[in-house]
């Protein structure tokens, strides 16, 4: 956090993340610091787009793209961005990548782009992005920032895909649009509607907490 134009030595910022390997940085976002089921960040898109696997997957991958791009640039310019304008700069970087993701998706998968509609531009407002830029990418080197962005993005994608698979399977009897439940299955339309999203998220959080608690007890018992 220096004001000189020339980069100086690695800044010593309070709360600098503890050293870790790049692989550990990736894995942390997927597992014990998973954005959705552990940190509970980015709940708005989580609830809104997980009615179909294709939508959840697309939102997850788009967010991953933005997280990696933003992590790279925030880390790259971390010694040039003055403290006073850092949030503005981070938002600018994030917004640029969101716009790119939006355009690329619209050009390649127009149907999914249309289904995600207003939620694509709203990735800018996903607190996960600014949170990781401020708490992590601005304090570490490029490889770690990119690894963290990728890991967090993958963790987000994994959670969204799990949630949307549960909702699409029960709510429509299909997965990625292919019927899997057989003709006699009566879809629980409730699951693809907003209340079904809260219900499915509750189930997911419950099972994650249950598994986590069991593991902790096992460790203590040993």
């Amino acid at each position: 956090m220096t004001t000189a134009l020339a980069p100086t030595a690695e800044p010593l910022v309070p709360g600098t993340p503890p050293p870790a390997t790049v692989l550990q940085d990736v894995w942390r976002g997927i597992s014990r610091e998973n954005p959705v089921v552990i940190q509970m960040l980015g709940m708005c898109p989580t609830m809104a787009v997980t009615n179909l696997v294709a939508n959840g997957l697309a939102m997850g991958l788009a967010t991953t793209f933005v997280m990696v791009g933003a992590g790279l640039f925030v880390s790259l310019f971390r010694r040039h961005i003055a403290n006073e304008v850092r949030i503005t700069s981070y938002i600018l970087i994030i917004a640029t990548f969101v716009t790119l993701a939006d355009l690329i998706l619209a050009a390649t998968f127009p149907v999914i782009s249309r289904a995600l509609g207003p939620f694509m531009p709203l990735i800018v407002a996903n607190c996960l992005l600014l949170g990781r830029a401020e708490a992590f990418a601005a304090k570490v080197g490029i490889p770690r920032a990119v690894a963290d962005g990728f890991g967090m993005g993958m963790g987000f994608t994994l959670s969204l895909t799990t949630l949307s698979a549960l909702r699409e399977l029960l709510g429509r009897g299909t997965l990625l649009g292919f019927p899997v439940m057989g003709a006699s299955y009566e879809p629980w339309v409730f699951m693809v509607l907003p209340p079904g999203g809260f219900f499915a998220l509750g189930l997911l959080l419950l099972s994650v907490a249950w598994v986590g608690g069991r593991r902790k007890r096992n460790v203590q018992a040993r």
Binding site: T2, G15, T96, L100, L103, A107, G117, P118
Partner: protein, 223 residues
């Protein structure tokens, strides 16, 4: 903040060293310019694919609001006049267009136009099918909207709303609940009042704009 102890959360204050404003401005200006450049570059690269898809969507919408016409002709609006052929050197994609639906015998059934006006949060684009002489609608379809998911987007997702329009006669009036059989009444959606009102306003404005143009075209073309 070179040297000297500074709190991590410190905001520029009256005391202590401050970053020169010029430097802050320069940082943001450079970042903004770089960001703009990148966005423009990707925009230009993705534009052809996006436009191709938009063209297909328009075709589907024309077919729908004109109630499956046998074929249709495209008219272009050039200098406040409708012409069948776009003049040389103009970009057809940029000109406002009217689609003249025809039945199997070649008679005109209805006309479709697109209209774009502000909705609740972003501009709404509608395809509107109507009979220009009587002012009766044949159908509407939302081409593009970014209204609130779950509320305002019902103008597109709630088919009961869109299905009201065929047969309605302009100028449309909005009502909370349709009572009689007044052909100008359109029922707004609960929770999407502003978006429904926007749709009704767009339809009324579009017909007010296009009907005289089509009448003038009919006179010169002798139908």
């Amino acid at each position: 903040m070179t040297g000297g102890h500074v709190h991590p959360q410190s905001v520029p204050s009256a005391e202590g060293r401050q970053v020169p404003a010029a430097r802050l401005l320069a940082t943001l200006a450079i970042a903004g310019a770089a960001s703009g450049l990148l966005v423009v570059l990707v925009y230009r690269l993705t534009l052809p694919a996006i436009q191709r898809y938009a063209g297909q969507q328009v075709e589907v919408a024309v077919r729908e609001v004109l109630r499956a016409p046998a074929r249709w002709d495209t008219l272009y609006l050039v200098q406040d006049r409708l012409v069948a052929l776009a003049p040389e050197g103009t970009d057809k994609g940029e000109l406002p267009k009217a689609y003249l639906g025809r039945d199997a015998a070649g008679r005109r059934t209805a006309v479709a136009v697109t209209a774009r006006e502000p909705g609740f949060q972003e501009e709404l684009t509608l395809m509107i099918g109507f009979e220009p002489v009587s002012g009766a609608l044949t159908g509407i379809k939302v081409l593009e909207q970014k209204e609130t998911p779950g509320l305002g987007d019902k103008i597109e997702t709630d088919s009961a709303f869109g299905n009201q329009f065929p047969g309605r006669i302009v100028p449309l009036r909005r009502v909370k609940l349709r009572t009689g059989s007044d052909p100008s009444e359109v029922q707004t959606i609960t929770g999407a009042t502003i978006s429904s009102r926007a749709v009704i306003r767009i339809v009324n404005n579009a017909l007010a704009r296009w009907r005289p143009l089509l009448t003038a075209f009919d006179r010169t073309a002798g139908r």
